[in-house]
Structures are given as C-alpha cells and as structure tokens.
C-alpha cells in the first residue's frame, strides 16, 4: 500500500499539525517506509488472541468519592498564554 499526499495532509489536519507542502511530501515518504515495515503485523495470526491495552495486571482502581484539594486558580493559570480574569482565554469556536 502506498500512502498518498492527500492522506498525509488529512492526517496532519486531524492532528492539528500545520505542515507546508514540502513537509507533507517528506513525511509521506518517511511514513510510507515505516508503514511498509509495520505491515508485517498483518502476517501474525491473532485469530485466537485477545487485545492487551495495559500490562499492569490491575482490573480497576477505585477510590472513595470524597472531596479533595485541587490546584488554586492562580497556580492553574500561571502558565496560561492568555487569560481573562479567572479563565483561560480561547478564540471563538463559532462565528
């Protein structure tokens, strides 16, 4: 399977990565080579195998539903590039 430039541009948009046309072409070549290698996975017979999402052996981690402290507002906002009063400022999502 060969990766097309418009697929790379589509994935970059999904991931919100601004790329130039030259970037797209360079990543297309590199990702194509990586995917060609990764395609070996398709040869492994996994018809009888379940999926592993994590290997910690834990099934679930419960805790009591009780009130706990959290970051003070000033600490939470200390790294914000833009703030307005006690909020993070973002651009308008809808016109």
């Amino acid at each position: 399977m060969t990766l097309e430039s418009d697929q790379v541009a589509h994935v970059a948009m999904l991931a919100r990565l601004g790329l130039s046309d030259e970037d797209v072409e360079r990543y297309r070549e590199q990702l194509d080579a990586i995917l060609a290698h990764v395609d070996r996975l398709q040869q492994v017979d996994t018809s009888e195998v379940g999926e592993t999402a994590q290997v910690g052996g834990l099934v679930n981690a419960w805790r009591e539903d009780e009130r706990r402290g959290c970051l003070p507002v000033e600490a939470a906002l200390a790294n914000a590039p833009k703030r307005r009063r006690d909020h993070f400022e973002v651009g308008a999502i809808q016109e």
Partner: protein, 489 residues
C-alpha cells in the same frame, strides 16, 4: 571529576568529611565542565541550596533517620515535574513551562533528602534513541563526543558516566533508560510497569512509560529504586502490591538460578564486538553457578511493529493537550483551528510530528482494526511468550542493544533509528523489569548486558545484575568526558 558512588559519598557525609552543600557545588562545577557535550539544560540552584540545607540539618540533628540518599546530589530528565522549576520535555512547545506541582518519584527523592542539581537534556517528549531529537541540541557521548549517548534519556546517562553526579533519573518507554546506559557504560534500570508512579511525568505513551534510575553500581540503583517505588493514589496504574525489599535479594549471587538467553536476541544484526562481550558475560554468570539455557521468543520480530503502532497511538492522544491554551507556546491566529495548526506546527519537532501522524493514522477510521487492534493483539502474544519463558527460567540475559554508540547524524532515516530499540522495547510491551549493566567494550565503546525478569520481580533482576557486577571491572570505569575528542558541537 569525582567518580564516587552514593555509598561512598554517604559515608563521607556521615564522617563529617564533606557537606551536602559542598557535594552540590562540586557536582555543579563538574557538570559545567561537560558543557561541550550539552547534557544539561538548566541548573536548579535555588532548589539545590534549599535541599542541601535540609539534608545538612537532618544529618546533624537526626543522622539515624537520614536515609542513604540524604545529601546526595543528582540530576533528572527534562520530562519530570518539580514545582517551580522549568520542565520543557526537550521541546519548544513547552519552553518556559513551570510545573505547578511536584511528581511523585521526584517528591520521594526530595523527601529522602537527595539534592537535585540539574535538569538533563533528552529527546523531545522522550521520543528517540540518540538524543538528537532535542529542541535544545544533541548530546555527546562522554566516551567519544562525536557519537550519541543513546536516547531518549541521553543527558541523564552522560552525566553519570562522566562522574559528575552519582545517580540520575530517566524514563523508559521503549528502552530510553537501558539503551543510553548501555551506550554510556553505566547501570540503568527500568522497573516493572506500575512499580514507580508516573504522576508528574509528562506522558508519552502511558501504557509503556516508566521512571527509573541511572547509577554507577547496582547497589546504588537499588537505593534509588527503593526510594521511588511503591503505590501512589495519584497514579491509578501504580501497583498496590507491596514492594519486595531489595535487600533480601541483593548479595545472594546467582548460584542455582536458571538464566535464559532468547536466541532471537542473539540473531544476525548483532555487532561482533557486542556478541563477544555478551557471550563472555554469559560464561561469567555460568562460572558463578547459574545455569544458562536457550529460550525462544518467536514474536520478537513483530515487536518493533507492535511498538511503533501502540506508542505513537498513545502519544498522539497524550500530546493533544499541547494546544497553546493552558500552557506552552501559543501562536495567535484569528481562527481557533489556525491557532492550533500554527502552535503545534511550530512547537513540535520533526520526530514528534512523525509519531503523532503515525498514531493518528493508526487510530483513524478504516485503519483502526488493521493497525491498532492488531497491535494490541500481538502485544498479548509477546507478553504471553515472556510468561512462558519465565516458567522455565528465573530471568533472561541478553544484549541491551545490538550495536554500540554510533556517530551523530548516522541514522537520519527514522526507521533505522527505530531499529536501535529492537532488544529493549519488547520488555516495555510486556511491562517487565529490565536493567542494563556494563559488560565490556567494542571498539573502545561500552557494551551493555540486559537482565530481564518476570513482572514484580525487580529485586531478582537487581540480584542477577549485582552478582555479575561484583565479579567484573566494567562498572568501575569513568568516561574521560571533559577531555573527550570530538566534543565540540
């Protein structure tokens, strides 16, 4: 340059021959002399002074309660958060980020009285095998400055190898502690997944990431591991199982232990000098009373592909939070979408973008089953094969890396770089503990021996590594570092 261990420095502190302040100053000046290798991103002077003062008081007032790390200087990788000290994950996108809280592993070292003196360089967001992906410049290997120290925890490995600090912290997602330990000739340990809390570690691939130490002896590795291991309610993947006391295993040697050598790990592609060093180490372990037998891990060949689906998939999700809203770089544009595109386009380096795209692709509609779901199934096979091997043997021994440190710029093709991790990343996929200890040289450059154990048998891994180390001299060598040829950037 000092090449003292934690144990030696601790003894000098207790005899009153030196102070925590003096050790921190000496470490800082040793680190400064390594500037041409670029292993340090910033110094933590204020925190160091505060901690050194605390340690000095503790040693003076209640020496019996002071642990082995009290007053000992160390460095940590630029992905671990300490309140009030910049952490940038080797990335432009987090340049100037000041964490509002301290991570658990670092917090436990601070509680133990250890003195952080510097934050070390690493590959951006811990993605890389050579430390060439740092936004703040590559790091040189203290044995040969024109070569890489390995990655992604290259700076943390280099400062220990050069003797500037007796230990450091790194993180290991696919080999990022063990491979640089191997390349730099020091010990580096990745504990069992879930043994050390990931709270306060900037996430790369959450089901694989684990924090661990570098040091110049296995005993020191054990001291640091004992301080940072254990359950943490802040990390729901941290294991609630009690930590087995390492002391009960250390010093017991390997007599009667069955050690397995996965024949797939000794296959072609292994550099001849690495093969010789590792085979000599196996013979040494046999002489010490262990039985060595061949085992098979047939899915090894599929592990690289599995890893390079799962790790990028998790990274694409984790790094979505780098959006220029709550922290980090923000490139202002009239539309929200353009702000994201520009912020992330400028903030991330090429390898991080590559992995985000690979992961986004593997998780996208139409490709999820073929890539991500299939990778998760192969991950099951890989973990099961390790489990079966551990029914026959107590631990596995093998090379850490098929090669020694390579020249900077030698592996500009991404796939060739990924192949560096072929002997370490299966261990992360299965969540096992693994250590690399120095076991010889090839062409004048260090070779690492990897010891892998079953889940939660961290102490056994340390026991085997220590038994080997006690009988050999490789860990006693300190890199020339400051006078090393080719160090200039």
């Amino acid at each position: 340059m000092s090449s003292d261990t934690v144990a030696e420095l601790g003894a000098r502190l207790r005899r009153g021959e030196t102070t925590p302040e003096e050790l921190a100053r000496a470490a800082r000046s040793d680190l400064e002399s390594l500037a041409r290798l670029n292993p340090v991103l910033r110094y933590t002077d204020e925190l160091a002074a505060r901690q050194a003062g605390r340690a000095a008081r503790l040693l003076a007032e209640a020496p019996e309660t002071a642990g082995p790390l009290c007053g000992i200087p160390f460095a940590y990788k630029d992905v671990l958060c300490v309140e009030g000290v910049e952490t940038s994950a080797g990335s432009r996108i987090l340049q100037g980020f000041i964490p509002p809280y301290t991570g658990t592993a670092l917090g436990r070292l601070l509680d133990a009285g250890a003195v952080p003196v510097a934050v070390t360089n690493c590959d951006e967001f811990a993605m890389g095998s050579s430390n060439e992906n740092s936004a703040y410049g590559a790091v040189g290997n203290p044995w040969d400055g024109s070569r890489v120290p390995g990655g992604s925890s290259g700076g943390s490995a280099a400062v220990v190898a050069a003797g500037a600090v007796p230990f450091s912290l790194g993180t290991d997602t696919g080999g990022s502690i063990r491979q640089p330990a191997s390349f730099c000739g020091v010990a580096g340990f990745k504990p069992t997944y879930g043994r050390v809390s990931r709270y306060g570690l900037i996430a790369f691939a959450s089901s694989l990431d684990q924090i661990g130490p570098f040091a110049r002896s296995v005993d020191d590795i054990a001291r640091v591991y004992s301080a940072i291991a254990g359950h943490d309610p802040h990390d729901s993947t941290s294991s609630p199982e009690a930590v087995e006391p390492v002391d009960e295993q250390l010093g017991r040697g390997v007599e009667g232990l069955r050690l397995g050598v996965p024949h797939e790990y000794m296959a072609e592609g292994l550099e001849p000098g690495v093969r010789v060093a590792v085979e000599t180490a196996l013979a040494e372990l046999e002489k010490l009373g262990a039985s060595i037998e061949e085992v098979s891990l047939p899915s090894t060949e599929a592990a690289l592909s599995t890893y390079y689906i799962i790790a990028p998939a998790e990274c694409s999700a984790n790094l979505a939070r780098m959006d220029g809203v709550r922290f980090g770089l923000h490139v202002d544009r009239p539309s929200v979408t353009d702000t994201y595109l520009e912020t992330r386009g400028r903030g991330f380096g090429p390898e991080v973008k590559r992995r985000i795209m690979l992961g986004t692709y593997a998780l996208s509609s139409g490709y999820y089953d073929a890539y991500y779901r299939q990778a998760q199934k192969v991950r099951t096979l890989i973990a099961d094969e390790f489990d079966r091997a551990f029914e026959k043997v107590d631990a596995l021994v093998c090379p850490t890396s098929p090669i020694v440190a390579f020249p900077k710029g030698d592996r500009s093709d991404p796939l060739s770089m990924y192949l560096c991790d072929v002997l370490t990343l299966p261990v992360n996929l299965a969540g096992l503990p693994g250590i690399s200890v120095p076991c010889g040289v090839s062409g004048g450059l260090p070779v690492g021996l990897q010891v892998i154990g079953p889940r939660m048998q961290d102490a056994r891994v340390l026991r085997v590594a220590q038994a080997y180390e006690r009988e050999t001299i490789w860990h006693t060598r300190t890199a020339p570092a400051a006078d090393v040829p080719g160090a200039a950037q």
